[in-house]
Amino acid sequence: MVDDLRKYLNHLLEKVNGLHCILITDRDGVPLVRAVTERAPQLALRPNFISTFGMATDQAGKLGLGRNKTIISMYPSYQVIQMNKLPLVITFIGSDNCNTGHILSLESQIEPFLKDLAAVVVDAP
């Protein structure tokens, strides 16, 4: 199942210009499935970077606007889009001029695969 998902993520990577990687992790940043190109910044793939999203999304949920779904972080040469699918987190890293809207629309295409993956994470001790 994971191999199929990885192949599918690699296929999605090719579809969006400037998208460097797609990571599916748990909320601690532990990678479950990853599709990465050589252009992805290695520092951003580390669990201590990805796990900060867990705290950020919790805090953003306290703004009184409802549950936080997505956080888009723009950097000088990269953009990071993280989606709250707790217990899973989806992280996309792309170039600064990458099509953000196109990346956001990938959510619906990845979502069907997340149910089984989430069950595995919940069952893990």
Binding site: N17, N99, T100, G101, I103, S108
Partner: protein, 90 residues
């Protein structure tokens, strides 16, 4: 702030057979959407226009027309802004 954009969209929607209209920025983020249009399609619309521009990079961005049984979707890029108009087939 977006009064001018709203006015343009109002004008487009007043045109016969137009069922929806969407405007997106260069990052594929939706600036405005009215009628029978899904906001999430903004990114894909910009991506389509970007790909079409690659066919003739030295010319003005082309107008892309996507045709289905019931509707037509016309996509046109102008600078950093991309617009899509959905028309019912006559």
């Amino acid at each position: 702030m977006e009064k001018d954009l709203d006015k343009v969209i109002e004008e487009i929607m007043a045109t016969p057979n137009v069922s929806g209209c969407l405007v997106a920025d260069y990052q594929g983020l939706c600036l405005a959407a009215t009628g029978d249009v899904h906001v999430d399609s903004a990114g894909i619309i910009v991506a389509i226009s970007e790909q079409a521009c690659k066919l003739e990079p030295n010319l003005k961005p082309p107008t892309v027309c996507l045709e289905t049984d019931k509707r037509q979707c016309l996509i046109q890029r102008h600078g950093t802004i991309t617009g899509a108009i959905y028309k019912l087939k006559a």
